[in-house]
Symmetry: C3
Subunit: 202 residues, 3 copies
């Protein structure tokens, strides 16, 4: 689907994001690691359960859990001595979203799903870890009112699928999808793109 | 189990309820659609995972996702121009609860479960979508302190099961269950029935 | 794995904890039972879904649901007349954590998982019910900033696994694991042990 190191990289970056979110709430060390773990593997776990893919991916090898442990502990240690500039997290977050969304879409596709379902599964893989993380620290998931987050994932999956339909090798199309999502997220942050907010009449 | 159009109707009505709940929190358009999707398919997804029913129902056809997209976008558009009277939502909510609870109970029954488990699965199917929706927008799920919501689902499932035990054709018993739940919910709203609240001693 | 009565005891104690948590929020009677149910079977349900263990354990017999019903109703009745001293809950909570964590670890082990994954599944089984319970009543899960909760589960699983590696019969090693967790939890409460809290630089 995607190279194993890219998968592990998404895992590590997701764990760092989880540790940072947990840090904002003054949780204890074990709490931080649990949040980092859920943030990192949450989306892929829901994907595997939905597709009945056994065993759930992070149970196939202890690598995932070890990467999460190392990344979340390193984040905690780093933060004890100096603050993390916010844009580092945002770039890392964009990378994790891109890897997870395209990987999720490709796995759903390999199970014979339609493009619509493939896109839904890709988005779920990309965003559910962060959603559960935010719910656990008692916040409205930021992806729900974040400028252009799930939208970037959808467009990246469309880019993957479109270029593949046009005859591009699936492997290259996947990289195009990943790069599309990262580029859109960074552009959205830089230019402050917003999806219109729904203001309802009461 | 239940006619396909009734299933899709539950899906659409659930999506409208989700969009309205999301609207109260000023989420962006994509956030609204994601909440609507989770509210609509959440309960049935948990049911299918618990029963190991593969694939999860909304992955069998793109119809479900398209219905959700159309219903949530229509709701957003409608709300831009005029408010939705609250009773419309409550009636829609009662219909969705009724369809989901009876459908869930029948599916659990068809997997050979006992009446107790069948009832639990029916209630889960009926209420979990709304519960997850409320948790995501950072509220205590309304079904947990709502007058007579889960109770109506339980009584409707009992009505379905009872009339079937008495020899009624399962199809008709299902309609009786659906009508029982809708009637109980509307009566509960009209007469303001309350389940006693637990006030503990501290 | 563990005797059936111990399993049911964990179920009942988990339900009592759920009913007490729900009581703090003035939910209605049905809401309390739903929270008690989720608190009690939540962790084991996630475990069974992750391991693709079918059917989910509480669907194999109506016993679990009946135990939950009796325990949560008894708790509600009791609390109508007199308060529950807090340490009763904390002791009960320690017992449920111990039973669930060791049972979860043993089940994961029997599916051929590595010690790392076995530990993760054991901790999930022990803590997820309480986490979902707290999220539903709109609180940051207490296990995330509780002194020494998940840590006690991890150490108990290590004790189980270690003594088994040293040649002890698995059955006895399981009891050692359960007793380790209960002892650690009670000691942590008595001596107010704390895992260091992460204070990040902003």
């Amino acid at each position: 689907m995607l190279p194993y190191w890219l998968d592990l990289m998404g895992t590590g970056v997701g764990a760092i994001g989880g540790a940072l979110a947990a840090g904002r709430r003054s949780l204890d060390l074990v709490g931080v690691i649990i949040i980092a773990m859920i943030a990192s593997v949450g989306g892929g776990t829901v994907r595997d359960l939905l597709l009945d893919r056994n065993p759930v991916y992070w149970m196939r090898s202890s690598d995932y859990m070890l990467v999460i442990l190392i990344c979340s502990l390193s984040t905690v240690l780093y933060l004890r001595y100096r603050p993390m500039p916010k844009y580092v997290l945002e770039i890392a977050d964009a990378i994790a979203l891109a890897i997870y969304a395209i990987l999720g879409a490709r796995i759903a596709e390999s199970f014979g799903n339609t493009p619509v379902i493939m896109t839904v599964i890709g988005v779920i893989t990309g965003i559910f870890g962060g959603m559960i993380r935010d719910v656990l620290v008692n916040e409205v998931p930021f992806i729900l009112n974040q400028d252009f987050y799930a939208s970037a994932a959808i467009l990246g999956i469309v880019a993957y699928w479109g270029t593949k339909q046009l005859g591009l090798h699936a492997e290259y199309a996947a990289y195009i999808g990943v790069i599309t999502i990262i580029t859109l997220r960074l552009a959205a942050m830089y230019f402050k793109w917003q999806v219109p907010v729904l203001h309802i009449k009461h």
